[in-house]
């Protein structure tokens, strides 16, 4: 039996309901996917607009929440940076759904490989056991692993706009509207909650006629990155702006997307293109590093405590970006409690898309939208209100076991009652706090969301047993 056309749509419908498809269909799907992936280079070219997603880890219901928040395929163009499987209980359904969507809409979804897309790791972290349990044999696991070997190692996003077209969404309740820059400013960063409400907006100071000082005086927006808590701000205008290099509205460089990070063996994107990727992830070497490395506050390179890949510092990133004409590296791989974290003067960002990771960590998730250059037409309001009010907002009861998570209220360190919420991370810890980099970064819209409510939308959702020390 072949999978294609209406069969494929049927499989997609079944997987969307979190029900696995029969083994023979998996085999067929994996075969088709391999045919498709083999044509892709190690670094896939992707045109903006695109929505960049981090780790999923088998949290199927949260993947559905991601599609609700970010828009469905094929309406939204997606790039997933790997780690589809392991840890969560629905690795199989999550990966197969993404693969089906890839085969059905090859130009609307890009999948690159994470370090968990590997035979060795999946036998430790759950995907192997899950396949065995759900099918009674390891065949499906084997088919999937063969697909893993063909996944691209990275993606290069071009054509992203330097400024966002501001959303016309309402301003989130907890945010004081006076701190949100006007929509006609040159918006570099915008953070929205799951209901499409604006939590934070940051204007780029791109007026090259003004000095930095006069800008900060004349443009209240420039002092707003930390919201209504002036005590948190350093000198005004030292947020994630690139104005100090005096560049005029130049086009943004490309955005490299990779699961882990850089490798000491790779100094150019062309060198990634030369790798032979169609194999199990090796224990060392360039391919391993791309999937395993982490940025860290060090100079140069360091040993990774993970036992694979390396740590790399700001100097490495800046040099690599300059040399390869990149404005930003987007990567996943590390849990960040706020869903995303920009580092090294916004030259690299970690995007994490598994909320309440392992049903235990209490974190929120994020996706990163890059708009299309020129027309700036990339944005379509997407929050369709399917879930009514309350979801995802700062007062949400917290999907699943998450409790009420409001640790991610950006733009404000003040709770609804005016009391400081200690755990609200200062924005600078999320967005970095530097200035002056060679290329204007793309306009970045982060959509932040919490775990899907248990038992949502009638899908089977088991309350998982997260383990603790007892």
């Amino acid at each position: 039996m072949s999978i294609g056309g209406s069969d494929l749509d049927r499989a997609i419908a079944q997987l969307r309901a979190c029900r696995p498809i029969p083994e023979n269909q998996v085999r067929e799907l994996c075969y088709k996917a391999r045919e498709l992936l083999i044509e892709e280079g190690n670094v896939v070219g992707v045109d903006a607009p695109v929505t960049i997603c981090g780790d999923i880890h088998g949290q199927f219901h949260d993947l559905m929440e991601l599609f609700r928040v970010g828009g469905d395929v094929p309406d939204t163009n997606y790039l997933f940076m790997g780690d589809f499987v392991d840890r969560g209980f629905y690795s199989l359904e999550s990966f197969l759904l993404l693969l089906c969507l890839k085969v059905r809409y090859p130009d609307r979804i890009t999948l690159i490989r994470g370090n968990h897309e590997s035979r060795q790791i999946t036998t430790v972290y759950g995907f192997y056991d899950e396949c065995l349990r759900k099918y009674g044999s390891a065949n499906v696991w084997r088919y999937c692993c063969e697909v893993f070997d063909y996944l691209a190692l990275g993606a290069l996003v071009t054509g992203a706009a330097t400024s966002l077209t501001p959303t016309d969404g309402p301003i989130a309740e907890s945010i004081q509207s006076m701190d949100i820059p006007d929509a006609d400013c040159d918006i570099e960063i915008e953070t929205l909650n799951a209901n499409g409400e604006i939590m934070y907006r940051y204007a780029r100071n791109s007026d090259s006629h003004s000095t930095a000082a006069s800008q900060t005086n004349s443009n209240p927006a420039s002092s707003s990155p930390l919201g209504p808590t002036p005590s948190n701000t350093g000198p005004a205008g030292t947020g994630a702006t690139s104005s100090s290099n005096g560049s005029s509205k130049n086009e943004t460089g490309a955005v490299l997307c990779v699961h882990g990070g850089l490798s000491p063996l790779i100094d150019s994107i062309d060198k990634i293109r030369l790798l032979d990727r169609k194999q199990e992830v090796p224990h060392e070497g360039a391919m391993c590093d791309l999937l395993w490395s982490d940025p860290d506050e060090i100079d140069g390179w360091g040993l990774s405590p993970r036992g694979a890949g390396f740590l790399f510092g700001a100097d490495i990133v800046k040099h690599f970006n300059h040399r390869n004409d990149l404005s930003l590296i987007a990567r996943a791989h590390q849990l960040v409690m706020e869903g995303f974290k920009e580092m090294f003067e916004s030259t690299i960002v970690t995007v994490w898309s598994a909320p309440n990771y392992c049903y235990r960590c209490g974190n929120v998730a994020a996706i990163l939208e890059l708009g299309e250059d020129g027309s700036n037409a990339g944005f379509v309001p997407r929050s369709n209100g399917e879930r009514g009010g309350g979801g995802g907002g700062t007062t949400a009861s917290g999907g699943g076991a998450g409790g009420n998570g409001r640790g991610w209220v950006l733009g404000s360190n003040v709770g609804p009652n005016g009391a400081a919420i200690g755990e609200n991370r200062r924005l600078s810890s999320v967005l970095g706090d530097g200035m002056g980099r060679p290329r204007d970064g793309p306009g970045r819209r982060y959509r932040v969301f919490e775990a899907a409510p248990q038992d949502s939308r009638g899908m089977p959702a088991k309350k998982p047993v997260a383990e603790y020390f007892l």
């Binding site: 209980f89 065995l132 209490g362 009420n404 047993v465």
Partner: protein
């Protein structure tokens, strides 16, 4: 993720709403069959059940080489025990941290007899390991737990020669099956619900004890045979007192430090418990455990390391009251070579999560020196100060 945790597809399809799987793998529910129903009973059962959880974690660590414990598998009843790498790492840190404190206590003044009281000991193997490691030290060991847990432990001991050979069976034979207590000059299993120490009235009747008047023991306080009121004593609570109300914990500790022990006896308390209940991870932990009917009343009462130290002082451990989270302990207490050995056992990808997990558990240790006034040797008096002088606490 252990295989047992991955939901069986067929089960899921059959019971859409999924409630049927909750609490699977826990259990020992039958033990409460004789008690009347009610939420307290369910909670007690859940707390009792936590012990097999710990036993399984220990076995996982032993099998993978994290810990050297020949006895762990003899107590575990769970079939599938392999835990995730980060849980193994956490169990390793927890066990080796407490081992370090206990070892320092036993090594200082090696000829002095010592006493250890392990609260909620469950299937803990420490007594048996210490017998091997300190064959010539006089250790008077006590374990206190629910009767169901002590009875199960006795049964395990009865079944395995490796275990009962460590007891003084020639003079102190094992009690008949169904018994839940065992007493001897080396090892004692006390079947006791610690809360029974808090329900006794503080009426005035007192005859034999030398306790101060305001802590006059009531006649109803249970006997703890062989507990020596004068030996330097270490009290151990690994995830035990956390399940009780703060006031109850305070009363229980006070009963030990002033009634069961003479107030002039050097004494100490080691706590291993979670901390930081108010951040996102902590809130999720509380909510997740609540679905298993596990509640941690003292967690909210002592949310941070500073609260743990203050609490130890309040209990009267004024000579030292220290604490460190397990992330600190991994970093600072474990030698570089040992770290390298442990890191090499399994590939551990979940570093950020491990970090989160380790920062949410702490070891707190407090001690009081003995009375030095006129007694025989005052070297005895500061045994804990001596033993733990060099143990690094978190700043």
């Amino acid at each position: 993720m252990a295989a047992r945790e991955i939901p069986d597809l067929k089960t899921l399809l059959a019971s859409r709403r999924g409630g049927g799987l909750r609490g699977r793998g826990r259990g020992r529910g039958g033990l409460t069959a004789s008690s009347p129903g009610g939420s307290e009973t369910i909670k007690d059962s859940a707390v009792r059940g936590t012990d097999q959880d710990a036993a399984g974690s220990r076995v996982s660590c032993v099998e993978l080489g994290y810990l050297n414990d020949a006895y762990a598998s003899l107590f575990a009843t769970q079939s599938s025990t392999r835990r995730l790498p980060l849980l193994n790492r956490g169990t390793y840190v927890r066990t080796s941290a407490i081992d370090q404190l206990v070892n320092s206590f036993l090594k200082v003044q090696p000829n002095a007899p010592k006493q250890i009281i392990s609260l909620g000991a469950g299937t803990d193997t420490r007594y048996f390991r210490l017998r091997d490691a300190y064959p010539s030290t006089t250790i008077l060991y006590h374990e206190i737990d629910f009767p169901t847990n002590t009875a199960a432990k006795l049964n395990s001991i009865r079944r395995h020669a490796q275990l009962y050979e460590k007891l003084l069976l020639s003079t102190h034979p094992l009690p008949p099956p169904q018994s839940s207590s065992y007493h001897s000059p080396t090892y004692n299993l006390h079947a006791l619900d610690l809360r029974s120490l808090t329900t006794t009235t503080t009426s005035s009747s007192s005859s034999s004890s030398s306790s101060p008047p305001e802590t006059t023991p009531s006649p109803q306080l249970p006997q703890l045979p062989n507990l020596d009121p004068n030996l330097p004593t270490l009290i151990l609570s690994e995830m035990c007192l956390i399940y009780l109300q703060p006031s109850a914990v305070s009363t229980i500790i006070q009963k030990f430090t002033t009634h069961y022990l003479s107030p002039s006896t050097p004494a100490s308390l080691i706590l291993y418990e979670p901390i930081l209940p108010n951040d996102a991870f902590g809130r999720t932990m509380i909510s997740n455990l609540a679905t298993r009917n596990i509640h941690l009343p003292t967690l909210t009462a002592y949310p941070e390391l500073g609260d743990q130290r203050a609490r130890l002082k309040q209990y009267g451990f004024v000579a030292g009251a220290k604490a460190a989270d397990t992330e600190f302990i991994w970093r600072e207490w474990v030698s570089a070579e040992e770290k390298e050995r442990v890191a090499g056992l399994e590939m551990l990808d979940e570093l950020e999560e491990l970090d989160l997990l380790l920062r949410h558990y702490c070891v707190a240790w407090g001690y009081r020196d003995g009375a030095t006034g006129g007694d025989d040797d005052d070297a005895h008096g500061n045994i804990f100060s001596q033993a733990w002088a060099h143990v690094k606490e978190q700043g």
